[in-house]
């Protein structure tokens, strides 16, 4: 199939502002948008710049805005996105070059929620036991790959970059609902901040954007409930 890619370009060493550039290519419906970007880079214009690594949706490098929706370029097939495809960097983070954004503000929010296991009791000789039922309570949020599709699709985050954002809340959720963890109270206090969970307006963009099909909005709601409940 003949496809037209309209890509937002920006080279910080040359351009004062981003601009659009179009490319026409012959692709197969089962090809990924990433295949087309790599084709352009390898055969048409080596300056086109994006991040990518695993190319099958588990490393989270190639999040971008494709036809207005955040997704991973390696999980977007032309059979789904059609033959007129607009590609921009994910929004709300500073653009470094073409489709590459500065991930540091995103990672800072991630680090702020104590995204690590906390349990100061002496470890047993073997594993800590956990029931299958307890394990399932945080199953969804363990799937997060930190691609930033959710956070950078959130209008609240665009408006207020101090908002911790859905990805960081999902990461906190992963520990708050882990029966083995002891750091929930600290995390809930962090997320009860004005720039924490209450900035979420339940717009569901995050859930729609998640390439791992995590029910992000639901996870945020569970954390909100936990904050209310723990304060009662």
């Amino acid at each position: 199939m003949q496809v037209t890619l309209k890509i937002q370009r920006f080279n910080p060493e040359k351009d004062s502002a981003p601009y659009w550039k179009e490319y026409s290519l012959d692709m197969h419906p089962n090809d990924r948008v990433l295949d087309a970007l790599l084709y352009i880079k390898n055969h048409i214009d080596g300056t086109l710049t994006m991040r990518s690594s695993c190319a099958h949706g588990i490393c989270g490098s190639d999040a971008m805005r494709i036809n207005g929706v955040n997704q991973l370029a390696c999980k977007s097939l032309f059979s789904k996105v059609g033959n007129n495809v607009t590609i921009e960097p994910i929004a709300g983070l500073p653009v470094i070059k073409d489709l590459v954004v500065d991930m540091e503000p995103f990672m800072e929010h991630y680090r702020s929620v104590l995204p690590f296991f906390i349990n100061d009791d002496p470890a047993p000789e073997k594993e800590r036991l956990q029931s299958e039922e307890d394990r399932l309570k945080f199953e969804e949020s363990t799937k997060c790959i930190l691609c930033a599709c959710c956070t950078t699709s959130c209008p609240t985050f665009w408006a207020t970059d101090a908002y911790v954002g859905p990805a960081a809340i999902v990461q906190a959720h992963r520990f708050i609902f882990d029966s083995r963890d002891q750091g929930s109270q600290q995390r809930l206090e962090i997320l009860a901040d004005p720039d924490g969970v209450w900035r979420c307006r339940t717009i569901f963009n995050c859930t729609n954007a998640c390439p791992r099909e995590i029910k992000v909005t639901e996870a945020i709601a569970e954390v909100k409930k936990e904050i209310l409940f723990s304060k009662l």
């Binding site: 880079k41 991040r51 690590f116």
Partner: protein
Amino acid sequence: MQYHYHKHDVIIVGAGGAGLMAALYAGKEVDTAVISKLYPTRSHTGAAQGGVGAALANLEEDHWEWHAYDTIKGADFIGDQDAIEFMCKDAPDVVYELEHMGLPFDRTPDGKISQRRFGGHTNNETKQAVMRACNSADRTGHMILQTLYQQCIKHNVNFYDEYQMLDLIMVDGEARGVVAYEIDTGELHVFHAKAVMLATGGWGPVWNITSNAHTLTGDGPALVLRHGLPLEDMEFFQFHPTGLFKLGILITEAVRGEGGVLINGKGERFMPKYAPTVKELASRDVVSRAIYMEVMAGNGVDGKDYVYLDVTPETVNHYFEVDDSRLPNGEIRKIDDHFVKTKLEDISDFCRTYVGVDPTKEPIPVQPTAHYAMGGIPTDIDTHALANEKGDLVPGLYAAGECGCISVHGGNRLGTNSLLDLVVFGRRGGKVMAQDVKKMEFKPIDAEAAVAKVRAELDAILNNTGTESHADIKQEMKNIMTKDVSVFRVEEGMAEAVQKLRELRERYKHIHIDDKGKRFNTNLLEAWQVGNLLDLALVTAESALARKESRGAHARDDYPERDDENWMKHTMVYLDADGKVTLKYKPVTVTKYQPVKRVY
């Protein structure tokens, strides 16, 4: 010459499972930093699916000695048995440690770490498959990577994210640091260190169909070669039997562990012909060859080069009856749609997304995919890099994970042993480096000269006005290696491959790139990385050409038998600046298991 200067006791290059585990342990005691060309959570450890092997015996009888023997046999008796015994004995402890770090393993009904069957892992008495793979759904690698990164954040490990290593600083045969390129700015950084650990992963992109990320370009091993040091057992590269057709995306062996069967184009289950006892759960080299032979015999699906992996409950339950496969409680095994969807959630997603197949309803089209390097930078059991076949060490240099070769995988790695290797030897390497550097002072380096050397290499690419394209050269290399240095190999093909690879190396000297800028110049870095892949392809082909036997993943049509008398030895390959390859050999460490014929 402009550059930034940093000083850390320990520098670790690569932030996958081995690098992060080493960083955690070294970082507890000495000043440690990790350099990674990707954000750590993008590392390819995250792609590992099925499990990490450890004889916990949570669901049935198991012993680390059985695990060790299975690994030695899987390796086709060319693994070093002392290292294998150490790894398998250490396995339960390191898995419990991961659990204590919060790793969310799946659970058994009584709340313990869940375990599943995997290829080549057996009850040594009954010879039947044993549940040894500790798993977290089908994203165990993702969970390990995330957990280790979380712990690194907790313990304030220093990270230099998106820095590409471009050279090792070697003085008087000692490693004293690294030169790296800050991808965002294009500036060069000198990292002065007492200990440098390479944990850069594999180089599957040398072949066409691969399960590997395209960022896996063997940077560590290629730089080791360039400094006149050897690589070990490069001819042993694993082709995983079940890559998604055309894309090569890994479809975990756990699919077969949970009952999935391989079906050829005639609708026949063919593995019983090749491995009567464990069938689909034979080791990977055996299953990949079986698929290849089915395809060669015209039994591929639609006459093409793929077969079906069938995990539909209807088929699986049928073969559970046929095989009389039972649960530990004596009941016949049985699965349903829900089981497939939850235990194999990610691969269900891959199948739906990329080939439009729902694995609970239809079979999955699969073909062998270049997956894992058994060879790499030779090390001792403490991850010290070796300078030669005599076993002399390279002071200051360490390697762990897939880029290293201890050797615990020998001629063929068992599934679940890669994740195990990462965490066992990452941990050991981290501890050893911490002890080693406490006894050492920083030794002098000529940072100016180190930077000038790298700058000259980059300028040679940036200013080259040649007409060749690194992307085309890379594609031709993949074609050559796929055609002639793949699942089956013969003398003429490999000799031709060596010749053609040499031509490509000449052409590589005349590449040009479009991007001459400083900011995020991935065009420049990818061009440099193709040079690494070409060196690794050449030493792989030369090592394979010389080994006149069939063993593990190295299968030759012209020498179909294993030859223990002449070839029970490790290859040590050197590459000089002119492209001349020198092959030497070193003995295999045998503790108590003498080679026997391998049957599954």
